[in-house]
Symmetry: C2
Subunit: 304 residues, 2 copies
């Protein structure tokens, strides 16, 4: 059962207190795919300019990422530049140059339209809706969004909510979208508008799954050194959806486990620049971190 992602394919330039990366592979579709492909093959849809380092992107093919949905257009690739402060929780966007991404109209290749699992990365909700018009009968659709669309494209975003199974947002986004600072009430607001589940990503404070009458909490994996937080949210989504696609199991207990895979992937993402960490690890390393995540929270109500 195939897993489709539609999102940005970018070149990120990042400065952190520990170093900098220049024009490294980035974007929501790239981070998502790098993580998810450790668990399940991925079909990627996006757009790049003629200047994109295609050789680097092609390396992803060998990892089970089908790039036939990535089109090349005349013009500059999407570029983002950012700088992180010392505690890595605040970041400053130095520039955003949309390039060809500004005119992106996702076309899903015929061979991707049977996708069972779909992740709509953070793009214009009108385009996210266009993607859903092209896929035939997905079993589980998850979408991300951001403050820019919450303010600028609210009606389309509300329409999107009616058509997705799960919204993945961070805590500031859900507060902005719902007008409620209390994330659990905010989650209920979302659930009343279509999705069966909401995933709220809280960065260093972990993530929460709300839906099916349950709340599930997964802490961020405690790392001694966080190197570069860029892409952690999309890697989380990659782990979450990758696990769901790999198991084909949409029961609440398996969605809990999907959250843990998400958290594990988010923790790998921040250990290096760009998608570098995902190129170093294998499935065994992921499983090991999932077990470590369990060790982090496990307790017996009646200990020996």
């Amino acid at each position: 059962m195939s897993l489709l992602v539609v999102g940005s394919v970018a070149l990120d330039s990042v400065e952190t207190p520990f170093g900098s990366a220049d024009e490294a592979l980035g974007g929501s579709a790239v981070f998502f795919s790098a993580a998810a492909s450790l668990l399940h093959p991925v079909q990627m849809v996006g757009v790049v300019g003629r200047d994109y380092p295609m050789a680097k992107l092609q390396r992803l093919s060998a990892r089970g990422i089908d790039l036939r949905g990535v089109t090349t257009m005349d013009g500059e690739s999407f570029r983002w530049g950012g700088r992180y402060g010392f505690d890595l929780s605040s970041r400053e966007t130095l520039y955003t140059r949309l390039g060809v991404f500004a005119n992106f109209r996702p076309t899903i290749p015929a061979e991707f339209r049977d996708a069972a699992y779909v992740f709509l990365g953070n793009i214009d909700p009108e385009l996210q809706l266009e993607v859903l018009d092209q896929v035939k009968a997905p079993k589980f659709v998850a979408a991300d969004t951001m403050n820019f669309w919450i303010n600028g494209k609210r009606p389309a975003l509300l329409k999107l909510l009616e058509r997705v199974d799960c919204l993945l947002v961070n805590d500031s986004e859900i507060r902005e979208l719902t007008g409620d600072w209390h994330i659990h009430r905010a989650a209920r607001w979302i659930l009343e508008r279509g999705p069966k589940y909401v995933v709220i990503k809280k960065g260093e404070h972990g993530a929460v799954l709300v839906g099916s009458g349950q709340i599930f909490y997964v802490p961020a994996f405690p790392l001694e050194d966080v190197f570069d937080p860029t892409g952690a949210g999309d890697a989380f989504a990659g782990g979450f959806m990758g696990h769901i696609a790999r198991t084909g199991n949409l029961t609440p207990p398996n969605l809990r486990l999907a959250m843990v895979y998400g958290s594990a992937m988010g923790s790998f993402a921040v250990e290096r620049f760009s998608i570098q960490r995902f190129e170093e690890i294998d499935l065994a390393a992921v499983l090991e971190r999932v077990k470590a995540q369990r060790e982090l929270v496990h307790f017996d109500v009646e200990p020996v």
Copy 2:
């Protein structure tokens, strides 16, 4: 095996967006005892002025709190006034009037000196050391502190660390004490100075236990409505130490469970003003919340 707490006994006046409480029972020893006594008898040591509403305090006796260590001195009782903002995570201290607490020198009654489990509430570390000089052979000593002592009484605080088994602090305090913004590195700094365990309280983001080569994370219990955050940290300590005293079990798995009892008690504390919630509930309600805390984080690595 007895459980001893030394700390403040205060009158709190609190304003929140949801109402206000005037001169309600407060202070670290009171919140600690109200929570801990649901699990195990408590011996309380503190000081009040002649104006303290002793009838209200006496109600605690019926709950298994031995008040023979609470002395009455000429002068005004410790009073604190605070106001919380809409999201309840920021608070403004309106006044702090130490009264008789300014001259508090804890004297541990002879009948309390055999205490096996000791919680040193947030008082001058020199006084915390004096308490330890008076108890004979405690099995497990935990201490709280605050920014005021971290800055003003650092040498005494470092001496105290050498003599306690566990330090309970909040995230801003451990950062200030260690000079490291990264709480896991900061925890290691503490562990190198004496304690076997550190508990870092992160308010709405839960709490972390570090020690014995393990990290254990417990999320804050998700409440639809938080009413008044005052005392949550001391109630956490009460649940933590109350469970340890009740079970007499200092193994790492049981300390994990103690963290969960701490979190459960913290969540009860914030549901009402002052210690009101603890007067409404019983042990069964605590056990139920402990199970709900497990449901919040439990997952199977191989789900059905």
